[in-house]
Each structure stands twice: as C-alpha cells, then as structure tokens.
C-alpha cells in the first residue's frame, strides 16, 4: 500500500441532517405528548399511523433496497397478531410483554418462508409470498379450537379485563410510537452500516456487488428476517388496540399490503423518509376525505378507486415519489445521515491530485 499523505476521515452528518434531525425529534416528542394524553381518538390515530410507518418502512427496506417486492407481508402481521392472541388468551400472559415474543415468532416463521420464496424472482417472488400468506391464513382459519377460534375470529381478553380503557389506549399509543421510532432507527443504522452499503450496491447492480465480495443471498436473508420481526411486532401492537381479530383481515392483502405499497411508492421507494411521509400523507388525506362533514366526503369505494388510480399514476409517471423527487432536486436533503462524504486534507475536489496520481 502506498503512503497516505493527509489523514482521511468520513463525514456523515451535515447541517441539513442536524436541523432536520432536531425537527424529527420534535415531531416525535409532540406525538409522545399526544400519546400520553387522554384522547382515545388521537391515540388510535397514533397507533394506526405508527403501525403503518413500521410496516411501510419494512416493506420499503425489502422492495427499495434489496429488490424483494413482496405482496405477502400480511403473513407476518397475522402471525404476530395471532401469536399475541395465543400468549394472551391461551397462556394468560400480559399482552404488552407478549409483543416481543410475538414478533420473534414472526421472525422464526420467516426463515423457512425465505428459503422457499427466495427460489422465485421478481413478480413471481411477489405472488409466491402472497400464496404463502394465504396458506398461513387458511391454516389459522382451520384451527377452530381456542384460543384461535378459526375463521370467525376472537377477541383479546387480557387487556380489557386487566387495564382500564384509558390506560390501555395510552400505553398502546406509546408502545406504537416507540416501535415506529425503533424500526426507523434500526433501518437508518442498518443502512448506515456496511450491510446497508451492500444493500444499496445490490439494489443498483446485483451482479457487480457479488463481484466485489458481497454475499447477495445472505444480505437479502438478513433483511427479510428483520422485516418479518418488525412487521410481526406491528401486527401485535395493532391488535392490542383493536382487540377483535379475524384471519381474513389480519392476513388480508387489501387491509395491509395494498395501502402499504401505495404509501411507499407515493412517498418515494428506496428512501428512508419516503414511507414515513407516504404513511403520514395517507392518513391525513384519508381522514380528510372520508370523515363526515368534510368538504369532499367520499364513500369507501370512491376513496379506494382514487387510491388505486393514484398508485397507477405514481408507478407509471412519478416513480421517484415525493421524497425521491425532492432529494433529487436538492441532493443534500436528508434526514438520516447515511451518506458518507470523504475528506482527505484538501485532496478531494482538488484536481491537481488527479494529475499527480496518473
């Protein structure tokens, strides 16, 4: 190795990321304040938004960073949720402490699922995952004994008889917010790490990445398992709030993956910020257009038709999504400092160095 002239160092955070980071912390603090309040309607919204932020971010981690486009992520929602039911109703465990083991069940289940589904590529992987989610749904439906009670579904009994309603909404909202912060932090740290570097490389050129020593299969596997864990946790949190569960909705593609896909693509696939923005926007807009008394009150059908059209338009004409378009125009714009800027004395950006080296 030749001698190093000036010491090199890598700069991650910039002024923009610091400012936006402070803003993000403020938003989270404000949401925590609302979550700790006593308005069940607001707390419900926080839970819903946070759950979708988690699931959308994880779907984006798969689709946007590893090229694994799945329409079967509802499998892990349902697995997490039903694991919670089994721990709570079946074994009488405290629901809040059952969320983590429920998520672990989703993680364990994701391993054989990955081994099978990774045999398919592209759109075939997408639908193959869907079939797998269907199999899980049918199996759960078939289990007619307690605590699952088959297709007609069941209700989570533990929280309702253990905690007063106000306390349950408060706790669940705080947990959901914590989960969302954790999930996004994990994704940001992952993408900041060498694994993240390899994921972005795999996304851009799979073949080139393996030629530089990246084990593409292994990286994908790791991400798939992480996504299953958080998606399972999100499913469990959702049903702590909702209490009532049925296999057809817990494993429903139109309940979960459909809106998630729209959120991610709208916000900007392949960015950390995109799914969060997409999920938030989705909730704001849905709230506005479907609530009674708003200027344009839409029926569910019209709302979904417009959603579908929006997904089509974005996928056909606006593939970068909102955040993608923004950060394309302003490259320094990023909330999470995952980029690396190299500083080596005055050598970088100095063209004399180029001549010297050649």
């Amino acid at each position: 190795m030749s001698s190093t002239a000036a010491p090199a160092h890598v700069v991650r955070a910039t002024t923009t990321t610091r400012i936006l980071g402070v803003l993000a912390v403020l938003v989270v603090a404000w949401m925590a304040f609302l979550a700790a309040g006593d308005n069940p309607a607001t707390q419900t919204k926080i839970v819903e938004l946070c759950v979708f932020v988690v699931v959308a971010s994880m779907w984006n981690l798969l689709a946007g960073y590893t090229g694994l486009v799945s329409i079967g992520q509802q499998a892990f929602i349902g697995l997490g949720a039903y694991a919670l039911i089994v721990f709570g109703n079946g074994y009488g465990q405290d629901v809040y402490f059952s969320i983590l083991p429920a998520a672990l069940i989703a993680l364990v289940a994701s391993i054989p699922i990955a081994l099978l589904a990774f045999r398919l590529r592209g759109a075939y992987f997408a639908i193959g995952m869907w079939v797998i989610a269907e199999v899980v749904r049918l199996l759960v439906k078939q289990y007619k004994a307690a605590p699952i009670k088959g297709g007609s579904g069941t209700s989570l009994v533990v929280p309702t008889n253990l905690y007063p309603k106000a306390e349950r909404f408060q706790t669940t909202a705080l947990i959901a917010l914590g989960l969302a912060v954790l999930a996004v932090t994990v994704i940001a740290l992952l993408l900041r790490s060498r694994i993240g570097l390899s994921l972005q490389a795999v996304r851009d050129n799979e073949h080139g990445a393996s030629g530089l020593g990246v084990n593409v299969y292994r990286e994908r596997f790791i991400v798939f398992v992480i996504a299953a864990f958080f998606t399972g946790a999100a499913g469990a949190v959702w049903y702590v709030l909702k209490i009532r569960i049925q296999p057809d909705t817990a494993f429903g593609v139109s309940d979960w993956t459909a809106p998630i896909v729209v959120m991610v693509v709208l916000g900007g696939i392949g960015t950390i910020e995109g799914p969060i923005i997409g999920a938030a926007l989705w909730y704001l807009v849905r709230d506005y257009v479907t609530s009674t008394g708003s200027a344009i009150q839409l029926s569910d059908e019209w709302y979904l038709i417009l959603t579908g059209l929006l997904a089509m338009v974005v996928a056909l004409f606006f593939q970068r999504g909102l955040w993608g378009a923004l950060s394309g125009r302003f490259p320094s714009l990023q909330v999470f400092p995952i980029r690396r800027r190299l500083v080596v004395g005055d050598e970088v950006g100095d063209h004399r160095d180029r001549k010297r080296a050649t």
Binding site: V69, R119, G122, I127, V131, S254, M312
Partner: protein, 288 residues
C-alpha cells in the same frame, strides 16, 4: 369410487384454471409482465354478463360472443394506456401499477354491483350429469373443460401456424431481433393483451355460471392462475393445461381426503412443494 369421482372433477376443474392461466402465461411469456388485475378482469366479465342477461334476457352463453371481443378491446386499451409503460420497467412498479388497477376494478365493481354475490343462470344444464359405471360426470364441467381445451388448441394453432403467431414467438424470444424482421413489437404486445383479457373474460363467465361470484373474488382467481402457470412451468400452453389440471386434482383429491379443510389449501400446498422440489415447474424447461 369417490376417489375416481374426485379425480374426474379435479381434471375438469383444471380446464377452468388453465383458461384463467392462459392469459397470464401469455403476457408474461411475451412481455415479461405480470398483471395483478388479471383475476379482477374475470370477475368483471361475470358481472357484465349478468347485466347483459338481465337487460336482454336469454342464457349467459350468448354474452360470450359479445364479451370476448369486448375483452380483446379492453386488453388493447390497457396495453396502450398502462402496460406499454411497464414493459422492461423495474418489477416493483409493474406490481404497484397493476395492483392499483386491481383495486380500481374491485371497487368500481363494488360501487356498481354492491357487495352481494351473484350467479349466472344457465338453467338445467348446471345440474345435468351422466353416469359411467358409478361415476357421475357433470355436463357443464365437461363442456367447460372442452371449451378450455378448444381455446388452447386454437391458441396453439394461432401461435404455431400463422404469421402473426410466429411473430409473437419471435418477439418473445428476442424483441430486438424481431424488430429487425419488421415486426412491430408494440402491436404484438397489444394483441397479446387483447388475447389475455378475452380468454380471462371467457374464464370469468364460465366460472360465474358454476359458482356465484362477488366483486372481491379477483385476487383469489389470480392466485389460481398464477399457481397453474408455476406448477405447469413457464413457456408452454400445454404446460399451463397440465398445471391447471394438477391444481384442480390437488384441490379435489385433498378435499376428498380431508373433508373439513378448504380445497384451495391443497392447491397452495402443491404449489409450495413444486417450488421446493422443482422450481421450474413440473413441465418447465430447465433454464426457464
């Protein structure tokens, strides 16, 4: 005897699945495009047929003559407006766009036809059956199977014997080389989508005459079509028929053995087994 009975129903059901799968296999073969709204188009056809019957009377069968050309037109239109922009694009966007289309069709059907289930009335034909030994064979399922085979035969004649059919296969092999032969690949893609939608329209009408249907049935049908394609192996129409039959057999035989389990589960299980053991499908080419 019950086993033979179940096997025969399975084979006959497989014809219907093959009919669902044909269009999917064709669009993937020619354009490498998967249309997630494929099943919803079948449901749409069943609803359109019921509307036509309610307005003009008669049997649903005559509506096939109207709706197959309409389906062709719908396919061409979809190709021009949507699919053309998706050929060669990152699969993520293909999935999102056609998923969006699926949501649009489902909810438009829900808006127009409500959530109620409907059925196409084909009169006494639905229950007619004849017996060979102890085995009863439904006349309508047999008819449906024969029609499916006829569609596959005519499609394979079209692909094998006509100039346009050869252009199809050439485009599927190598679109750029096909253009060097003077073939307009965009026109080929339009015909492919036209055929895909008109065959799935036919499948939807036949399916609606057998069992009732609702606006939300599309995704389930898409999965059957997809499974038939993967089980049979990509790349051949006869593989698709075989895949459809294998799927139908798995469902009826599985349900025969485990009476209180849902039949589609056994189809899914067969699909997963094929995936684990022979990912290129039972009849697929090795490099597919």
């Amino acid at each position: 005897m019950n086993w033979i009975q179940a096997a025969i129903s399975g084979v006959l059901l497989g014809g219907l699945y093959a009919l669902y799968a044909t269009g999917l296999s064709l669009s993937f073969g020619v354009m490498r495009l998967i249309n997630l709204a494929h099943g919803d188009l079948a449901v749409m056809a069943a609803f359109l047929s019921s509307t036509l019957v309610l307005s003009f009377g008669g049997s649903p069968f005559w509506t096939i003559l109207v709706l197959m050309p309409v389906g062709f037109g719908v396919g061409v239109l979809l190709q021009k407006v949507v699919f053309d922009r998706l050929v060669g694009v990152d699969p993520a966007f293909q999935i999102v766009a056609t998923f969006g289309l699926s949501i649009v069709i489902q909810n438009a059907l829900l808006k127009v036809y409500t959530a109620d289930r409907r059925a196409l009335d084909i009169g006494p034909l639905k229950t007619k059956a004849f017996k060979i030994a102890e085995v009863s064979i439904g006349l309508f399922p047999l008819l449906r199977f024969v029609v499916a085979v006829l569609v596959l035969v005519s499609l394979s004649l079209f692909l094998g014997r006509t100039s346009t059919g050869r252009a199809f296969r050439a485009t599927s092999d190598d679109p750029e080389a096909a253009r060097l032969m003077g073939i307009n690949s965009r026109a080929i893609y339009m015909i492919a989508s036209g055929i895909a939608v008109s065959t799935v329209f036919l499948a939807g009408i036949f399916s609606g005459a057998q069992t009732n249907f609702a606006s939300s049935d599309g995704p389930g049908l898409l999965i059957f079509a997809f499974e038939a394609v993967i089980i049979g192996g990509l790349g051949s129409l006869w593989g698709t028929l075989a895949g459809g039959i294998a799927l139908g057999l798995a469902q009826t035989l599985g349900a025969e053995q485990f009476t209180d389990w849902p039949a589609q589960l056994f189809g899914h299980v067969l699909f997963l087994i094929v995936l684990a053991v022979r990912p290129n499908g039972l009849f697929g080419r090795a490099e597919a």
